[in-house]
Amino acid sequence: MSYMDKSLKEIHEALKSNEVTSEELIKESLAKSHEIEDKCNAFVTILDDAKNEVSSDDILAGIPFGVKDNYSTKGVLSTGSSNTLCDYVPFYTATAVENLKKRGAVMVNKTAMDEFGMGGTGTTAHTGIIKNPWDLRRTCAGSSSGSAAAVASGVYPYALGSDTGDSIRKPAAYCGIVGYKPTYGMISRYGLFAFASSLDHCGVLTRSVMDAAIVVDRMKGIDPNDMTSWDSKDIHLEEAVSKELMAKKICYIKELVNIDNYPNASEELKSHLENFQKTLEICKKMGLEVEEVSVDKTLLDALASVYVVISCAEATSNLSNMTGIIFGKRGSGDKWDEMMMDHRTKGFSPLIKRRFVIGSYVLQKENQERYFKNAQRVRRLLVDAWKNIYEKYDAVILPVGLGPAPMLDGKVEMIHQGTEALDEHLQIGNFGGFPSITIPNGFVNDLPVGVNITGNCYNDELVINLAAHLESMMDYKGQIAKEVEHE
């Protein structure tokens, strides 16, 4: 009998009725962790000595969970999947993790990711490439790749992720699970390694909308250690799941979804967009008004560069403390700058180094206006366009990515690859801090694909409620990855 492939409520009931003990759940989760590590390379650390240390009646008590390796965890290796921090052990725990642990949740592993969250392929972790459990030849997307692979494989019911561009929501789609990032600041970022502070969100990957609601209800809250966090005590996500449908009118973006915009569309993209249309029909059956709206294509075409310019600039600044002096492996050299250069050159992957150079360039005084400030201006125009939409519609619904998970083809991730706005639009959720959730909505070539729902800031209850109603109309809730046959 296995439990880690069940929902939080089912596992909690089994614990309450003494059908299973927490120790047995931990044992099952650890055994599964080792199995998935061998297959998918999903973890940086597996905590073989994990124990249930808190006595609590909370629904999360005694149940294992995973934590992305860019969350600080006291006494537990936290590398951000970077060689620069390959031996770093924090002396404090991130608030989001602490909020779960104090309710009795049991952390059993730290999940591998794209280095410091910068990347969307799961190929830049210092522990190697993270593989998709549905098809080991394919990417999980990133950067919360290990969390997605683990939850989809039934290692535990949930794992924490972080999302700066789409890092929770795209891996969720490629792995056939749920990925939710709430409104910016609802979950404290204290203890999350900063990548791009104005875009970074904490969140969770689960196998159902209900489980996402239950976990985020407990992760969230105002935190004196994060001045951007806010009081969300009046937001009750779990209750919102069970309410009558709160949304009335939703829309999708014509420029992103219309197949005529893609003259060279692959068969996978065609199937993905057809499948999305079926999801829209389901929405209509639920009683929702569904309309098509138009957004200035110039703004959508600029999306990828806006994200790159802002995120690289913020990352260059945030990660300037990686010197190897006060933490991290000390570099060699006779002078301080030689030591730092050795540490940074050997420690960072090529992708990150290139992003730093771009970030530094756009921040130079003579370049700021043309690149950095203009990117921030387009950020506002895009956010304003979405806020205008929210005056008339409760949410925007769109497909995630260009189809199922792409193959791991060994190509180096470059910023001009995959820059179709359809592949990048989730970044708007980060630009505006909007609550945004991805749920599975079907299969293309036997591989899972996802649909995303994004609402206006602070409307998390509506977004969760809508996602739960849509989920209940489809057959993909609680699914565990089944490796596809291929020639």
Partner: protein, 98 residues
């Protein structure tokens, strides 16, 4: 002809205290060209210079100051535990001045 050069990229990398291989340098140049082309799109948006740059995800963000109260201190041993070279209560570094 690109306005970006190998030497420029080397200079920016040097300022960041990182070294790039020739191959990495070439990739940065390609990425610069792509970004520059897209920025040209942005510059053609009418009245773009009149738009207030958006620096934060929430426009209604309120910054309030905490009371100036002493919090818990972190033991010095914990703070030093991740440094490779320490001497008593201090982190050891090479001579920087003089």
């Amino acid at each position: 002809m690109s306005k970006f050069t190998k030497e420029m990229v080397e200079d920016y990398a040097e300022k960041l205290l990182i070294k790039l291989t020739d191959e990495e340098n070439k990739m940065v140049l390609e990425e610069f060209d792509y970004i520059d082309d897209t920025i040209n799109l942005i510059n053609n948006i009418p009245n773009i210079d009149k738009v207030e740059p958006m620096t934060h995800a929430l426009d209604d963000f309120e910054c309030s100051l905490r009371e100036d109260e002493a919090g818990e201190s972190v033991p010095i041993e914990d703070l030093l535990s991740n440094a490779d070279f320490t001497d008593g209560r201090e982190i050891e570094v090479v001579k920087v001045v003089g």
